[in-house]
């Protein structure tokens, strides 16, 4: 039964929220095998490993937001059990990450109550938490969401963004939640919250970054629209955020250095990453040029021979991508296609 509509926090002007998933987005958590999973509860903060460049990126996002006279918020939302919270908090402290909230899933509670399906269920849990967090405030005027391709982050984040923007009607939302096996009680709770938040912040979610940890083909995210940016590494996310003026070029270089340092990568990998993002139509050519030239100046990656000719060729190739992108629906995801994909799957 649906109760009285909950109250909601007013939108806070000049504020920006960065919402992060933890495993596979911030932390290099390995739960591909039982052996690796068993180890996780026994890890301390110092044992946990972050993805290269992510701490640098979060610190820079907060710093730049403040410099731009915006109130920054950093939230973490994880489907990991609360019991690992202490180790994660230690890790965040070690990485000097200031954050405003961190949420874990009550896996033990589900276990005790015998709700086996809830242990693995992600969409209902995360969407409910996102909407609750927004209702309870702070409700930032602008949000950036960071997830990965392991679970359903692109879908969850897109639904959240479209509830805020009014880009999805509640009936479609219900159909999707039912199709992805969200528990009935969760569906009702989500619909309650969605009804209150529906269309309250049309442009709130600016970008959704999906870390392609599993190397999922980028074309599979096309139905989510241009708001979702699949990225192969933190540098790609940083370059895109530089384009959105959430970062300065210095910050992109910091992330690049972190990526080089941890992975022992060659400079060519940095340039290839930037070119890949450009070819996929997520980075404008002039931004690409600025980043690549700065790489050369910092001696991170030399300019390619015949850089001018290369630029002309890249421009020609990009023209087609831009035309294709213009045809895509702006903002909202194509849920009919996604539903069809889900049903076929």
């Amino acid at each position: 039964m649906r109760g009285a509509p909950p109250a909601f926090a007013p939108v806070e002007d000049r504020s920006v929220a960065f919402r992060w998933d933890l495993d596979k987005t911030y932390l290099r958590t390995e739960f591909e095998s039982l052996r690796k999973m068993v180890r996780i509860p026994f890890e301390g903060g110092a044992d946990k490993v972050h993805l290269p460049g992510v701490p640098q990126l979060i610190r820079a996002l907060r710093r730049r937001a403040e410099a731009q006279d915006n109130r920054p918020y950093v939230f973490f939302l994880s489907a990991s059990p609360r019991q690992i919270g202490s180790a994660v908090r230690d890790k965040l402290a070690l990485d000097e990450i200031e954050y405003d909230g961190i949420t874990f899933k009550d896996q033990l509670g589900h276990l005790v109550r015998g709700r086996w399906s809830s242990l693995r269920e992600q969409v209902g849990y995360k969407l409910d938490e996102l909407l609750s967090a927004r209702l309870g405030g702070p409700a930032a005027s602008c949000e950036y969401l960071f997830g990965d391709d392991w679970e359903s982050d692109p879908l969850i984040y897109s639904l959240y963004a479209d509830v805020l923007s009014g880009g999805i009607d509640l009936e479609t939302l219900k159909r999707i939640l039912v199709a992805v096996d969200v528990r009935k009680a969760s569906v009702l709770r989500i619909l309650d919250r969605a009804e209150v938040l529906f269309g309250t912040a049309p442009d709130a979610v600016e970008q959704i970054y999906i870390n392609l940890e599993r190397r999922t083909p980028p074309s599979r995210f096309r139905a989510y629209g241009p708001r979702v940016v699949p990225t192969f590494n933190t540098l790609q996310a940083a370059a895109s955020l530089y384009q959105s003026r959430r970062l300065e070029l210095d910050d992109v270089i910091d992330v690049a250095r972190a990526q080089l340092g941890v992975e022992g990568q060659g400079g060519h990998r940095l340039r290839n990453s930037i070119d890949d993002l450009t070819r996929r139509g997520h980075l404008r050519l002039e931004i690409r040029d600025r980043v690549v030239r700065r790489f050369a100046r910092e001696e991170l990656a030399p300019l390619a021979k015949g850089e001018a000719a290369l630029r002309t060729r890249l421009r020609a190739a990009l023209a087609t991508f831009r035309r294709r992108k213009q045809k895509a629906p702006l903002g909202r995801a194509d849920y009919e296609t996604l539903l069809a994909q889900w049903e076929n799957h």
Binding site: R215, T216, P217, P218, S219, F232, N233, Q265, G266, H268, R269, L270, R271, N272, S273, D275, D276, R279, R280, A304, K305, G306, L310, R313, L314, A316, A317, T320, F321
Partner: protein, 338 residues
Amino acid sequence: MPRVVVDAMGGDFAPEEMVRAVSQVSLESDIQMVLVGHAEQIQALLDAGEYNPELISVRHCGSVIGMSEDPREAIRAKKDASISVAARMVALGEADAMVSAGNTGACVLAAAKHWKLLAGIRKAALASVFPRQTEYEGQDQLGLLLDVGATIRCEAVELAQFGVMGSAYARCISKVASPRVGLLNMGAEANKGGDVLVEANRLLAGLPAIGFIGNVEGHDVATGHADVVVAEGLLGNVVLKLLEGVAEVASSLANNAAHESWRWRFGMAMLSPGIERMRTLADFQTYGGAPILGFEHVCIKAHGRSRSGAIGNAIKVSAKAVRDGIIPDIAQKIAELR
């Protein structure tokens, strides 16, 4: 890390299979690759599969040389053809090796136009690998035959150089410590075959480092007597096509036999594991491609009908050749020959 430039538009199944191969190699190695071809098509294909963008770059080019085009005319007219751009990139030091499954003539001519021959080398040779019997433990199941078409007629010293180059390549790629080099001739005796072959035999016999076993006859090609078979282009090409033709006829005869009577069909079914092994051995997909030897850079020419597996192997072979320093090795052996 070796940098390999791949002609994305060359081959019967280009660009799909080329892009698929590069994507796959990017996930399982640290080889840097450049795909040369139509950037939009290439990116669309990359997007549809799994790949590691950090190891792949794309160089756009405007045209392609078709498999049936006249190579000389096409290389002259299409300055920005993918194979020419790829060869030019290697010449400029933007990559260390080139892989193509496109028009063979165009590939050889593009290399000849943009690359220098190694000091002392008079002619480049196109090699081909072929399945054969093995005679001793550790012998590679594939032999190397060169030249198969980069030249037509050769002088004795050029044949001796082919022997040196083939030996170096077989040592590097096949891991045969001392490959046996044979000179294809009409008889085993050193005085057979006319002035050129007699002189070539004498020159090769004077090079103890390359393991020359003397003249080999046609039947020795298939028996595995020699690991490297040296021939001038005209003869090598005839032998190669003959081997391919015999294999096709054998396969066709077996298929027909299976349709003739149930007893033959039963017999074929009994033999099928052995036939499958032979097919695997003869399958060019497993070895990827063969080198064009004699230039200052590595070039692996893959079969025109190559699928992604074969192209991937060709990329790995080219990277290995660079890593193992096959070009300096050949250069040193040629210098010793002089």
